[in-house]
């Protein structure tokens, strides 16, 4: 990318959809929507503030869909915006999931919380009998995109869900996402994708390895603080890697020796 001058383009909010308390999916006008690859992210600007990195959950003609939790100043300001108002968008950035490698293989998705957003495009493209989604959230209402599960299941994808805390509506398993993993399930797959809060990724990757999936067949997506998105501002660096350009998707063996590759309790 030559001649970079970090200026976002104005983008209209076409739609916003409530996903869960304090989590919405914004459909934002974006001309280059067809350039977005699964796992990439956009820099989102809200007037009066600064830019934040947000994974692309899905694309549709002329737009990108970003699932956003209200956690900080920028997202707080965004949540006050209505449909028809404008924000700024720049991207897409980052190394995507290795789609060529995933196609036709048995893929296990081990996902926690908001981590379903950066893998949703993978699922929309690949959902089928070779794919298994193992997904956990803190509570049933925080399970994202529940309206999509029926179609994914219809296409043959297995969806295994768990929640940390059940409510009266919940009939399924209770516990962290790793409680759904077992050697038989793990070994029935050739590749795993892991996305979620850092602490969850740390435990999930450890479990996958112990259950027989080597690190060179596990991919993770890191959610470090990607301020500029193009490898200049320094914030997302881990070791000699810049998460925004060398990632956010990494093969586990590329990063797990690096300090704080998945440290801190985020989200």
């Amino acid at each position: 990318m030559k001649g970079f001058v970090n200026v976002p383009r104005a983008s209209r909010i076409l739609k916003n959809r409530d996903e869960a308390p304090d989590i919405k999916t914004y459909t934002l006008a974006f001309e280059a929507w067809h350039e977005v690859q699964p796992g990439q992210f956009m820099e989102l600007f809200v007037e009066g503030f600064w830019e934040i990195p947000i994974s692309v959950a899905a694309v549709e003609e002329g737009a990108v869909l970003l699932t956003i939790a209200r956690v900080g100043k920028v997202t707080g300001a965004l949540f006050r915006h209505r449909e028809g108002e404008c924000v700024g968008l720049r991207g897409p950035y980052g190394r995507p999931w290795p789609m060529e490698e995933l196609r036709g293989r048995r893929v296990l998705l081990v996902i926690g919380g908001l981590g379903l957003a950066p893998v949703r495009m993978v699922i929309e493209r690949l959902a089928g009998p070779e794919i298994t989604l193992v997904y956990g959230a803190r509570s049933p209402e925080l399970l994202l995109y529940r309206y999509r599960y029926p179609e994914w299941q219809q296409r043959g994808m297995q969806v295994l869900l768990t929640v940390d805390r059940a409510d009266e509506t919940w009939q399924g398993p209770v516990g962290v996402v790793t409680t759904l993993l077992n050697p038989e399930l793990v070994q029935a797959h050739e590749v795993a994708l892991v996305a979620g809060p850092p602490i969850m990724m740390k435990f999930a990757t450890k479990a996958l390895e112990e259950m027989g999936l080597p690190p060179d067949r596990v991919y993770v997506t890191l959610e470090n603080h990607m301020k500029c998105g193009v490898g200049l501002c320094g914030h997302c660096r881990i070791g000699d890697k810049y998460v925004c350009v060398d990632g956010p998707v990494f093969r586990l063996d590329e990063v797990r020796h690096l300090e704080t590759w998945a440290a801190g309790e985020v989200l």
């Binding site: 001058v5 200026v7 104005a10 503030f49 600064w50 900080g72 301020k227 200049l232 501002c233």
Partner: protein
């Protein structure tokens, strides 16, 4: 290799002036600190060690710097901050080496930063190699001094009672030096033989990341998190972005990895909540990635004995 008398050097600077360059040279203020000022010096200031700040960095990466603006709800590119054509005379090897590092970082990686590029194109760097080490520097160890291997257009080697030696580091440098007399390359070897024994050269392999855990904690315990080392480091280029309060202008401004806010994410979560982790992050950049040029400014400014000098003491 060329040789230039002082009057030749003045002539070279006048040529640059005639070409529209603002010639900046070292000038000492009343308190003994060196700043760049416009002019052509009568003589080389023998007591000049180095500029107080890494001015070369600040000329290519000013902070804060407007990036874009919101005008009537449209997002518009801000005017690129430019300083015009500048010939920076008397840059030290460490700062020129740092410039080569930031050139690579901002121009040759994933993107070419247009703001940086525009200012860099208008900058001519004339280094004067050092004949004695300055306070707390360890440039020879870092291969960034006392003479520069890269990052300059013209490099001068001062000699007593003899014309200075000069070499070109770029096509502009070649052109500027073309009118002057040649001298054999060996002249520089002689210069090095005379000067280098005054500089300490540590075993570079000892300066490495990861630090031993005890040293890392020692440094972390002594850091006051003032950020001084980072404002003065010629290779510290990390920046943050925000809308300047009361305006619609989004700027990028220098950020400091020894301040907790650098590592803080939404909701206050931090990837590196302790000083030990932040210190590791900094040293990983300076020694692991290898951006340190050994200028010593961090040690001079550090109020807590946590900068490079403290580290080197433990390595020695």
């Amino acid at each position: 290799m060329k040789q230039l008398r002082w009057s030749d050097i003045q002539q070279l600077l006048k040529t640059l002036q005639a070409e529209g360059y603002q010639v900046l040279v070292p000038k000492k203020n009343a308190w003994g600190d060196w700043f760049p000022e416009e002019g052509i010096p009568e003589a080389w200031p023998e007591d000049f060690e180095n500029y107080l700040f890494p001015f070369l960095r600040d000329l290519v990466l000013p902070s804060p710097e407007p990036v874009f603006e919101v005008r009537n709800h449209e997002l518009c590119e801000a005017h690129i901050l430019e300083f015009g054509k500048i010939a920076f005379f008397g840059a030290r090897a460490c700062d020129a080496t740092a410039l080569a590092y930031t050139d690579h970082f901002y121009l040759e990686r994933a993107v070419r930063d247009e703001h940086y590029a525009r200012r860099r194109e208008q900058l001519v760097v004339i280094t004067v190699a050092c004949t004695r080490p300055c306070e707390a520097s360890f440039c020879l160890t870092m291969e960034a001094g006392p003479w520069a291997r890269r990052g300059f257009d013209v490099q001068l080697y001062p000699r007593r009672d003899a014309p200075w030696l000069a070499e070109a580091g770029s096509p502009i440098g070649e052109r500027l030096l073309a009118p002057f007399a040649d001298t054999p390359e060996q002249a520089r070897d002689q210069w090095l033989q005379e000067v280098l024994p005054r500089f300490e050269k540590l075993d570079r392999s000892k300066l490495r990341y990861p630090l031993d855990p005890e040293t890392r904690q020692y440094l972390a315990d002594r850091c006051f998190a003032c950020g001084g080392c980072i404002w003065l480091c010629p290779t510290c280029t990390c920046y943050n972005e925000r809308t300047l309060p009361g305006t619609q202008t989004v700027v990028r401004e220098q950020d400091a990895c020894l301040l907790a806010g650098y590592h803080r994410m939404a909701k206050g979560a931090s990837l590196r909540p302790t000083m030990n982790e932040m210190m590791g992050f900094r040293y990983e950049c300076k020694l692991g990635i290898g951006s340190c040029v050994g200028c010593g400014r961090c040690s001079v400014t550090c109020i807590g004995h946590a900068a490079m000098e403290a580290y080197l003491e433990r390595v020695r």
